[in-house]
Symmetry: C2
Subunit: 111 residues, 2 copies
């Protein structure tokens, strides 16, 4: 199971998740998956947890980010690490995009 080698922004569909959040699925195989997630201002990525390790890059915007009970305001150029099974979530303070990467891949995003 793997994605194409190249992902072109203009050719990649956006999935509308509702509540001001959309995503594009980019590169993946069994052990890794990169996902772009676009947030309107005031959109909320509610606290949740999963067995995957997650690393995220803030591509644009400002996000109040909570991980395992700690909160930081992150802006373009910053990032975070959410360990497996630790509660994490974001509140979008200024519209922007997160680049979320998971290991292993998010089988739930492909079904």
């Amino acid at each position: 199971m793997q994605s194409n080698l190249f992902q072109i922004d203009a050719e990649t569909p956006w999935q509308d998740l509702g509540n001001g959040i959309k995503r594009q699925i980019y590169g993946y195989d069994d052990v890794i998956m990169l996902v772009k997630v676009k947030f309107e201002a005031e959109a909320i990525g509610t606290l949740h947890e999963h067995h995957h390790s997650q690393v995220t890059y803030v591509e644009s915007g400002v996000f109040e980010t909570s991980i395992d009970g700690k909160t930081e305001t992150l802006k373009q150029g910053d990032g975070f690490y959410a360990p497996p099974h630790k509660l994490h979530g974001v509140v979008c303070k200024e519209a922007g995009m997160l680049v979320d990467v998971f290991s292993p891949h998010r089988e739930d995003f492909l079904s």
Copy 2:
């Protein structure tokens, strides 16, 4: 082995790799690692391969990207997937930054 939960751009050191390339190490644990790699125009990420799966997001700039013998010109917003042990490399056509993510983590970057 894991990184801090939050990575703040202004507080994270850049490693100068020479030849117009610098990197910051962001979130990681044993199975994943996110690295920001900044390229000056005409800098070259020479063809190489590794056992890690790699997914990359083009944060800015333009990169002629080769993977397993196929070449595409990628720009801000695009991405790629480099399978384990497949030769890949980039030529930076306009200065910018790649967000590279590996699984498992790059033990060679931490030593």
